[in-house]
Symmetry: D2
Subunit: 298 residues, 4 copies
C-alpha cells in the first residue's frame, strides 16, 4: 500500500524531543503470607510500578547510565514486600515509591498500581468462621493507585472492580427525549437493572485505615443499590456516591463507571406466550455506559 | 509460499463422505426470573444446543429441506424456558432435547450444554438473610451437559468451573524421580498449594435433585481440600473424588481437572533477606495439570 | 445452604478406584531460534505434555515413587528443543513422548499438544522479501496433537485456529423448516457469511512434511471459501473438506468447527432509510455452530 | 466484617454535587459494506459514543427530561453510518458528535472512540491481488478518538493496537544502574527484543487523509523497528517517534506504550547443553513497560 518513490526511513529527520514519559515493571504477581500465628493471613496483588524522572539521554542518545533496570524493579517489589507491606496495598505503594526516588539517581517520582485479589477463608463444619489456612478466591477486586512527584507527598486513589450486581425490579427508564428521529425504545417503569461496578475514590486525609474504608465502601455500594426505586443508572450512581461520602468522611470524592448491562425481554408474543419480565436475553453488547464523579459540595 | 505449477482448487476431486457431525446454536444467554412471590428467584445460563441427525443432504448437496434453523433453536430456548425450566439446568436440557427430536424431521438426538452463573442475594442490614430481589454474582460457575441419542433416554453430566482454592501450608512434593537428567526441582514438605478446580460427574440414577447434589459436591470439594496434608495434587484430587462419592450416592463417577498453580518462593537470599514461604511469585504459567476420573470400585 | 445434621466429611467412606487419568505440564512457552545463517528462523509454541501410566499409588496412597515431576517435564521441553525440534511441532511431539516413555519408570504413553504462533518477516524497502531477523506476529494459529500408547507408534492430528474469514455476498440460507412454531427467521439468498475456522485433520501416512501440508490446507480453506455460492455454512464446510482431501493425499480425514458469526442487517426502515445489506450489526452471540468430519469415501 | 452499631444507610446524608461526567453507548459493533462496484469494500469497528452536557437533574433528582437514551445513540450510529461514514472512522466520529450536539437539548459535547478491525482480501490463484468480496481478518487494530466541547471543533487522536513485533538480534541492555541492592540482572549486548506496540498520535492539521497517514505510520513503525541496534526499548520508542514525525507532517506528536516482552534464555547449562540464545522461555509476565510522548521540538 506504500505508493510513490519515497521509501520509509529515507526522509530527512525532523527535530523532536521527549515529552511526558515513564517506565517500570507491570504485572508483577505478588503474594505475601503472614505466618506469625496458626491463623495465616494472605494478600495477593498484581503490581505495576512506573517511574518519572530524567530519562532523556536513554531515549535520545541510547545512554542508560544510572537507569534502574525494570528487573530491579521486580526484585524490589518482592524485597520490600518482605521488609514492609505490613498493612494495605496503599501503604505498600508509598513504601515502593519512597524507595525508588531514594535509590534511583534519575528518579524524581512515579506511581504504583495494584489489583488485589480477594480471598475468603473456606468455611468448614469444624471452622464455620473460616479455615485457618485455606482460602477461596472471590470475584470482585480491590484496586489502588499511589502517585508522587517527589517521593514524599502521595496522592492515593482506591477502588473496586468487577462487582456485578443485579436487581429484578424497582428500576425503570422514562421521560427521556422521545422526538428524536432515531428513538425507538419504549418507556418502562419496571425492568431488570444490572451493572458491573467500577469505582475509585480520592481521600480528604493524608492517611487512614485503607482496609476499613474499602470494606465500608464495598458494603455501602451494595446496600444503596437495593434501597431505592431507580429511575436511571445515573440516579443510582449519584445515590451511591452520596451514601459513600456520608459514611466515609475520609473520602473527598468518588468516581463510578457503570455499564448498563441490558436484559432484554425476549419477544415471546410471536409464539403465543406471555412474558412478564420473566424470560430475558442477557445482551453482552452494546451497553449504556455511565461515568461520573460525585464530590463534596462544600 | 505455494510452489509448483498446480494451483489450489484445480485438482480433480476425490470421493468423500460426511462423518460424525452436529449443528445448533451456541452462547444463547438466558435469564429466567421467578416472580411469583416478592422473594424473586433467578437463574442465568449460557446455553448451547447441538443436534444430531440426517443432515447429509445439507452438506453434500446444499439441500436444506427440513433443517431446523439455528435461529429457531435460539427462539426455542427462550420459548421453552417460559413453558418449562421449572428447576435445574439439567432438567431443562432434557426438555430442550425432547423438543428438538420431536419437531425436527431430521433430528434424532443431540446435546445441550450449560454454563450457569451463580448469584447470591445481596446482604443488607434490613435483610441479613439476603435481599428479596437484589443479587451479586459469584465467581464459580455451574455446568451441565445433557445428551441423547433418541430423545427419550438422557446422559447427564454436571460440573463446577472456576473454583479457585489455595492453602498456605499442609502440602508438599517429595520422593519423586530424582535421577532423571532434567530434574532440578528440590523436594519440599511445606509449600503453598493452589488450584482452579474444574469438575464434572455422571449419575448412577435416572434423575435426582440436581441442585441439591451440586450444592453438596461444591461444599465437599472445599471441605476435603482442607482436611489433610497433601503429598501431591493427585492425592488431593483422589480424596476429593472419594469424599464426593461417599456423600453423593446419586453420583457414579467424578472427573477433575486441576492445574497446580505454582507459587514460587522468591529468592530473597540474594538481598540478604530470609524468606520462610512468606513472599511468593504467583507464576501464571506453566502449570502442572492433573486430570483423572474417580469411580466406584464395585 | 447445608441442611440436616450430617456434616461434610463425617460420612463413612465408600470404596473407589482411579479411572482414566494423566498428568503433566501445560502452557510451557517455548521459542526456538535458528541462528545458523544471518537469515534467522524462529518457531514459537505453547506446549502441553501429559503422561499416561501406572500412577495409581500416587492417587490412592500418596506415594510419589518414580513419578516424573511436572517441573522436570518443563525442563525437558526446553532441553529436547535444543537437542531436537529440527522441523515441525508434530515431529517434536514424537521426540518428547518417546523420551518420557523411555525415562519415566511408570510412564507408558501420553500426548503432546501445541499451539504455534505464526510470525511473518517484516517487510521493509531494503528487504521486500522479508527481513532477516525481524518478525511480526499473525493472527491464525497452528495446532498439533501427538499421542502414543507405547512410545513407538504415534497418532498425529494437526490443525488451524483463529482463521477469521468473511464474504460480503454469494451466501444464503433458504428452504429450511418453516412450519415450526418457533421459526421467525426470513429466508435470504444474499447475506454476509463470516466464520472463525477451527480445523484439525488426521493422517493416512506415518509421517510427512507437516509444514508443507499445513500450508497447503491453510491456502485451500481460504480458496474454497471464495469459490462457490454458499447455501449454508454446512455446505461450505463440506466443500472445504472435499477440497483439502483432494489436494492432500497425506490426510485421511478433516474436522471443522465453524461458528456462523451473524451480521444482522440493521433495521433502518424505522428511520426512513434503505439498507441493502450495507449497514450491519456484528452480533457477538449467540452464533450458529457447525461441527463435522469429512472423510475419504473409500 | 462490618463492626460497630451503626449500619450502612442509616447515617445522615452529607451535601454532595455532580462532578465531571458523561454517558453514552459502548461496544456498538458496526460493519459497513460498500457495494457500488463488484469489488466490495468493508469497514468494521467497535464504537463508543459518550456525551457531555447538562445532566445534573438526572443524577441529583432522577429527572430524565430531554436526555438522549443510549438506545437512541446505538440507532444513530447505524443510521448515520448509512447516511455518512464515507471515509475514515475519524471523519465518522466528527459526524456523530456533530449530530448529538445538534439534536440533544442538553448535549454540549462528547467523544467517540473506535477500534477498527482490519480485513485483507483473500488471495486466490484467480485473484492474486485479492478477492473482490472475500476477506480475512488481521491481528493489528486501528483506533481513533474524536472529542469536542462544542460540536464544531474536534480533537482527533488516531492509533494502532496489537502490533506484535520481535527481533532475534540487534538489541541489548547495558550500562544501567548496577550498585542498587536489588539488581541481579546481567548486562547483555545481544538479546531477543519483542514488543506489542500501542501507539496514538495527535494532528497538527484540522483534517487530512487519515487512512493514508495511518498506513504510513503503520509501515514506518515496523521499518524503524528493524533499522538500528537497540540499546533499550526506550531508544527504539524514541526513534520510532522521530521517524513517524519525519514522514508525517500531519502529526504533531505521538505516544507509545511498549511492553518489553521478555524472552529468557533458558538455563540449559544444568543439563550439559549450550544455549546461544536459541532456546527461550517466553515469559508472559511481568514485563517492562515504557510509555512516552515524542513531540516536535519547534
Amino acid at each position: 500500500m506504500m505508493t510513490g518513490t519515497q521509501q520509509p526511513g529515507t526522509q530527512p529527520k525532523v527535530k523532536v524531543r521527549l515529552g511526558e514519559n515513564n517506565y517500570g515493571k507491570a504485572e508483577v504477581q505478588l503474594m505475601k503470607i503472614k505466618r506469625g500465628t496458626p491463623r495465616h493471613e494472605l494478600r495477593e496483588a498484581k503490581v505495576r510500578v512506573a517511574m518519572y524522572g530524567d530519562f532523556g539521554a536513554a531515549h535520545s542518545e541510547g545512554d542508560n547510565t544510572d537507569l534502574v533496570a525494570t528487573d530491579t524493579v521486580r526484585n524490589t517489589v518482592y524485597g520490600l514486600a518482605k521488609e514492609g507491606f505490613e498493612s494495605s496495598i496503599e501503604e505498600f505503594g508509598k513504601e515502593l515509591l519512597t524507595h525508588f526516588v531514594k535509590v534511583g539517581p534519575r528518579v524524581t517520582g512515579g506511581f504504583a498500581e495494584f489489583t488485589e485479589h480477594l480471598w475468603e477463608r473456606v468455611q468448614t463444619p469444624a471452622q464455620p468462621q473460616g479455615h485457618d489456612h485455606a482460602f477461596v478466591r472471590q470475584m470482585p477486586k480491590r484496586t489502588a493507585r499511589v502517585e508522587t512527584q517527589d517521593g514524599r507527598r502521595f496522592t492515593v486513589t482506591s477502588g473496586i472492580e468487577e462487582l456485578y450486581v443485579l436487581k429484578t425490579t424497582e428500576s425503570g427508564w422514562e421521560n427521556y427525549l422521545l422526538d428524536e428521529r432515531f428513538t425507538t425504545l419504549p418507556e418502562t417503569h419496571d425492568r431488570v437493572m444490572a451493572t458491573f461496578v467500577t469505582a475509585k475514590w480520592e481521600y480528604a486525609v493524608e492517611s487512614c485505615d485503607y482496609d476499613a474504608v474499602w470494606e465500608r465502601v464495598y458494603r455501602q455500594i451494595q446496600h444503596t443499590f437495593t434501597d431505592h426505586y431507580s429511575p436511571s443508572l445515573q440516579r443510582t450512581l449519584y445515590l451511591m456516591g452520596e451514601a459513600v461520602l456520608s459514611v466515609c468522611p475520609e473520602i473527598s470524592r468518588i468516581w463510578f463507571q457503570m455499564p448498563n448491562k441490558h436484559h432484554l425481554v425476549y419477544n415471546l408474543g410471536r409464539f403465543g406466550l406471555e412474558n412478564n419480565n420473566e424470560i430475558l436475553h442477557v445482551d453482552p453488547e452494546p451497553y449504556g455506559l455511565m461515568e461520573a464523579w460525585v464530590e463534596r459540595a462544600e
